[in-house]
């Protein structure tokens, strides 16, 4: 991105901080209800420097990464199957939609009960939530391949495998990346919800600690900001990968 492109982003951020500060001052809110932005920034920096955040951050990142990889990977495979087989779509889609209709918030405690309070339950929750948008995007993307291009491929004696790798996947990539953009932010939500349902480490655990036993509200906000930044960073990561693989068409 050019420097000019960053300017509006910075201005919007400054405006947000200003409104926040104004709310604190005008409303006369005490720091345990809404700490002013500068307090949160200071606490954010100190919490990172003194190592308060780090172990929780690492735990959450591992959960998000593994959950995203597993969920998106399964989403790609199942999405391809949905696009290619009408029978598979008919058999599988009721379950997929039903699974999607049950709030993950309700499933999370059950999954923690089954898979324990460790890494596994969080990865399962993350992948569940990532799976659906990626699977649907893959299905739509593969179906969007122009039949004329497939005919071209056949006239050039492309094998089924070559049709997949040189026509279907490249044509479906923009849609798949669209699904992954949604999926990667949902992965963060999944990890946080999973930790909320039972864990001993992770950013959601830190939020619970900060508002409970530590009663450190600025730390709670600092952790919230950290979670938001993780989401933004991962989203940008997908956007960068998309530019790299899809480019300008």
């Amino acid at each position: 991105m050019k420097r000019d492109a960053w300017l509006p982003v910075l201005l919007a951020l400054a405006f947000f901080a200003l409104v926040w500060k104004a709310a604190v001052v005008v409303g006369g809110l005490p720091p345990y209800i809404l700490p002013p932005p500068e307090t949160v920034v200071v606490r954010l920096v100190s919490a990172w420097l003194d190592g308060t955040v780090w172990p929780h951050f690492v735990t959450t990142m591992i959960e998000v990464t593994l959950g995203f990889v597993v969920g998106a990977g399964l989403g790609l495979i199942v999405g391809y199957g949905l696009a290619r087989s009408a029978l598979f779509e008919r058999l599988a889609s009721p379950y997929l939609v039903a699974a999607q209709a049950i709030p993950i918030l309700v499933l999370a405690p059950l999954l923690v009960l089954w898979f324990g309070p460790g890494l596994v339950s969080k990865v399962v929750i993350c992948s569940l939530i990532v799976f659906f948008p990626v699977a649907i995007a893959t299905m739509v993307g593969i179906r969007s391949v122009e039949p004329r291009l497939i005919e071209l491929g056949r006239s050039l004696r492309a094998t089924n495998r070559q049709i997949l790798t040189t026509l279907e996947i490249p044509a479906a990539l923009p849609a798949i990346f669209g699904g992954m953009r949604v999926g990667v932010t949902l992965a963060v939500v999944g990890a946080v919800v999973g930790e909320w349902a039972g864990a001993d480490k992770g950013l959601a655990v830190l939020i619970n600690l900060a508002r409970g036993s530590l009663f450190d509200i600025p730390l709670m906000f600092a952790t919230l900001v950290t979670i938001a930044l993780v989401g933004v960073a991962l989203y940008l990561g997908v956007v960068v990968a998309e530019r790299r693989f899809v480019g300008v068409r």
């Binding site: 004329r148 291009l149 005919e151 071209l152 491929g153 056949r154 006239s155 050039l156 004696r157 492309a158 070559q162 040189t166 026509l167 490249p170 044509a171 990539l173 899809v246 480019g247 300008v248 068409r249």
Partner: protein, 282 residues
């Protein structure tokens, strides 16, 4: 017509011979009764010959081309290339569609070499062939790195033509290849196609809607009837080769055009008779 002015015709003829014998084709429909599109097509195209297929809309010209290309299996009859049945897409046959059909995510160069990539050519050989092909179809080498969206319609169709020639086919099938181009560009492309043919000696079958284009390019103009398509006329074009744009003013052209038009008129008449019969039957 002397041998000196038609080098390609003199050399060719041994390969790229297309024989269609009693070819019929019907599309399956939802209601169950197949829709006959081609019926009893008999056609012999010599190696290195140029044949234009012309006929009313929906008469099965493109379907016939797809049968020759091995993309459609004829319901009955025989389609042969050099005496052997055409059982599927064949590297000896190159196909240019009505629209360029380029892969939008690939550069012009990668689109041209796509058939070579599918055929498993190593990248050095692909690069060599690319240089030959761009020269052959008159492409500006500087566009090699551009994507189709950045190219003009004419340039895109040149890329498609280069792609069809990539594997040095004996037969080039063209499905209204220049119909999306403006009249002037189209004329120029027709002449360039002839120059290319003089160098490569391929058999060319071109589907077209334009009588002047058919006469300009072809040795023979084959007129198909309305659906189901049958050959209603096979008219020889008595123009010498190599042809130039001035040949279009030749008296032979207007004579041939009149003949083609008369047969197309018959085809239309046949169509209305068929429609009447349909009405009576229902």
């Amino acid at each position: 017509m002397t041998a000196a002015t038609t080098p390609a015709l003199a050399q060719a003829a041994s390969t790229g011979v297309i024989t269609l014998h009693d070819v019929a084709f019907a599309f399956p429909t939802r209601t169950g009764a197949p829709l006959p599109v081609l019926d009893g097509i008999d056609l012999e195209i010599p190696g290195g010959g140029i044949v234009a297929l012309i006929g009313p809309n929906g008469c099965g010209k493109s379907t016939l081309l797809r049968v020759v290309a091995g993309l459609l299996d004829p319901g009955s009859g025989k389609a042969l290339l050099d005496g052997e049945p055409i059982v599927g897409p064949d590297p000896r046959i190159g196909l240019v569609f009505q629209e360029p059909r380029l892969l939008p995510w690939r550069t012009a160069a990668d689109n041209i070499t796509y058939p070579l990539e599918l055929a498993g050519w190593p990248s050095e050989r692909r690069t060599e062939r690319l240089a030959v092909l761009t020269e052959l179809v008159g492409l500006d080498p500087s566009i090699a790195g551009h994507r189709p969206a950045e190219l003009s319609g004419g340039t895109r169709q040149r890329v498609a033509l280069a792609r069809a020639l990539a594997l040095e086919p004996e037969v080039l099938l063209l499905d209204e290849p220049f119909s999306a181009l403006d009249a002037l560009t189209r004329e120029r492309f027709d002449l360039e196609l002839l120059r290319l043919w003089e160098r490569s000696a391929t058999t060319i079958v071109m589907v077209t809607h334009s009588i002047p284009e058919a006469i300009m390019v072809a040795d023979r103009v084959v007129v198909l009837s309305a659906r189901p398509g049958r050959v209603v006329a096979d008219i020889a074009v008595g123009l010498p080769r190599p042809r130039t744009i001035d040949d279009l003013d030749d008296a032979a052209v207007s004579r041939t055009a009149r003949e083609v038009r008369a047969h197309l008129g018959d085809a239309d008449a046949a169509e209305s008779v068929a429609a009447d019969l349909d009405r009576l039957a229902s």
